[in-house]
Amino acid sequence: MSEKKRATPLLDQLESGPWPSFVKELKKTEETPVMQDFLGQLERSYEEHIGHWKHGGIVGVMGYGGGVIGRYSDLGEEFPNIAHFHTIRVNQPAGWFYTSDALRQICDIWEKHGSGVTNMHGSTGDIILLGTTTPELEPTFKELTDAGFDLGGSGSDMRTPSCCCGQARCEWACYDTMGACYDFTQSYQDELHRPAFPYKYKMKFAGCPNDCVASVARADMSFIGTWRDDIKVNQDEVRACAAKGTDIQKEVCDLCPTKCMKWDGTQLDIDNSNCVKCMHCINVMPKALRPGDDRGATIMIGAKAPIVGGALLSSVFIPFIKMEPPYEDIKELISRIWDLWAEYGKNRERVGEFIQRVGLGTFLEQIGLEPVPEMIAAPRSNPYIFFGGEIAEAE
């Protein structure tokens, strides 16, 4: 261990204040050589206003193409203990539920083989083990699998799916998000661990249109719970809300996107045929209103961040489907999507950009799905229709 502690005056300023401090976290084992170098390099970044990490050669564990992000310091001589400082992505349990024992197992492994620094969790959902060297990768992996954990995704593969806590702790979950997340994750272990796609492919499972895992913004395939029948109304509880001071007209009816609710002061009437399942009224009166019983999900496709063609939100792919294991129909569609995308997708072209390039109509035709008007906000306004010779000749 290094002679004397490095001074980190800038970082030290971030130890104070009411919000939990990542600097305090880093200093928990400040005396170790690794942490000394880690803090040292970070302090340098704070002084110089620039990062000091490089991405370099692919590193990983045997037989896997993903799950490890190779990182190297560009100040290797000065900070030799973090010259190599890779990230291991560990696939989190669905819904991020743990027992204290499970967490301790992971801590013990990471204490032995890495920096002891983690992210709980990475923004895709993985447990992030932050900082180790190439030789430590295999042993870490071995102990993780022994403990029942496996790696998550990285690179052009299926990425670690994630989901909201759903039916485990939410009255609004319209399908079993954790069950589905686990099932799909297990079904696609090969795609998850061995990059074979044009680019990454993310799945997120949200139990209702509140979308607590931001799937519509962050997943190439978003499973958003919804229902087909009527909202369940407990009129007594509605009146109770009113009594407790909720202005039902202003706070609920007027904010309904389709204005499909009527409140006469004692009775709340919902024209369910015009309800677009936005959740607002239910959100405001959780005791009075509940999603209907005929539940399932809307499957949406194509969300992504800006690179390359600009950010996209997912768009409707299947307006409503029952979410029942083993989800054969859905998996059948997914494989057709992957086949098409793998064959015609350009390198680093997300499926959402692919669909826009080839055209949604063509895409649907290729995977054999009927177009329905729910897939669009509005029909085309430009007259550039490709009839492709399908208009019969008049005789």
Binding site: F320, L360, P373, A377, R380, Y384, F386
Partner: protein
């Protein structure tokens, strides 16, 4: 005649010469208007003066003898004053309320129905068609006549929930500016054009031909020795723009040209912002002289709108309230891939929310 003695660039005559005295007196000082009955309006000025307007339909394509008839009526009832509207109607302007009834009677006798005001279906903005344009995929005047013969009751009665504006254009150039109409009738070509390679080099500049294609379907090519172009048929969506810049490229096709119908556009800023028309019926055959399929579809859409929309609600406002899926269902239009935009900003038209009716 030498160019010197020639007058040029005088521009249009000054409008003041043509204004009736009551307008000159009250120019910019009108207080309000009332629609007295279909086609008849009164505008009341701050001064108390009243100007009566009688609006009659014209076929837009007018023979000078009819224009002379209008002139005669204007002399008879309006001290010679009349105007035309931005939708091809003629308007007679008088201060004399008593002139209204005889004027209406004369116009009706001449076959120019009085109406088109308020929430009536007014005249159809339209274009040349086979009457005078080279790129027409169908005729303009004929389709308009066939359609309006059926919609006539809605011209002489103000029985729509709001204004319902119909426009027609005979090719994608859209001279009728159909791109923002409640109901738009649009002639469409549906096959890639044929190239007359022998004429092309003589008649056209190859670079501008190549540049003219919105989808980049045209590339230079040497055809039996001569410099010409070729069209990648899969990339062509038959806009005819290459034909517009190069007569040697023939877009017209007797067998496969036809008509598409678009809905829900508007221009005014009233209530909602201006909207483009959206595709409803991708293709209907050219079936002159009365285009029964087109007439049926337009009637169906008008009736659907009239029976379902709320007061003051334009076609597009109604559809957006009930949602496009419901519209396709009510109109019994089969939703196809053609309805899904696949041009430059296609992605912007996808439904990017789980807000859906599942009922």
């Amino acid at each position: 005649m030498s160019a010197a003695s020639r007058v040029t660039d005088i521009g249009p005559p000054h409008y003041e010469k043509f204004l009736p005295p009551v307008i000159k007196r009250n120019y910019g000082k009108w207080l309000y208007h009332e629609i007295l009955r279909p086609g008849v309006m009164v505008h009341v000025a701050e001064s108390g003066d009243r100007l009566f307007t009688v609006r009659a339909a014209t076929p837009r394509l007018l023979h000078i003898s009819s224009i002379r008839d209008f002139a005669a009526l204007a002399d008879k009832y309006c001290a010679g004053h009349l105007r035309f509207t931005s939708r091809n109607n003629v308007e007679f302007l008088t201060e004399v309320e008593a002139n209204i009834d005889p004027l209406v009677a004369d116009l009706t006798k001449l076959g120019y129905p009085v109406g088109g005001t308020g929430n009536a279906i007014s005249n159809v903005v339209h274009t040349q068609g086979w009457v005078h344009c080279h790129s027409a995929a169908t005729d303009a005047s004929g389709v308009v006549k066939a359609v309006m013969d059926e919609l006539y009751p809605h011209f002489v009665n103000m029985d729509m929930p709001a204004k319902l504006r119909i426009a027609f254009a005979c090719c994608l150039n859209m001279c009728g500016a159909v791109h923002c109409s409640d109901i738009a009738i649009l002639g469409v070509h549906t096959r890639a054009p044929k190239i007359e390679h022998q004429n092309l080099p003589k008649m056209c500049e190859i670079p501008s031909v190549v540049a003219s294609c919105p989808t980049g379907a045209i590339r230079p090519a040497t055809v039996d020795g001569a410099q010409s172009v070729e069209i990648i048929e899969e990339q062509c969506m038959y806009c005819g723009n290459c034909f517009t810049v190069c007569p040697a490229i023939k877009i017209n096709n007797a067998k496969t040209d036809g008509i598409s119908i678009w809905v829900g556009g508007k221009v005014s800023n009233a209530r909602t912002e201006p909207k483009f028309s959206k595709l409803a019926v991708p293709f209907l055959p050219n079936n002159p002289p009365r285009w029964p399929e087109v007439v049926e579809w337009v009637k169906k859409l008008v009736t659907l709108y009239a029976t379902n929309a709320r007061k003051h609600e334009r076609m597009g406002e109604w559809i957006e309230r009930i949602g496009w899926p419901k519209f396709f269902q009510l109109a019994e239009i089969q939703f196809t891939k053609y309805h899904i935009d696949d041009f430059r900003h296609a992605g912007e038209t996808f439904k990017r929310s789980a807000q859906l009716r599942h009922g």
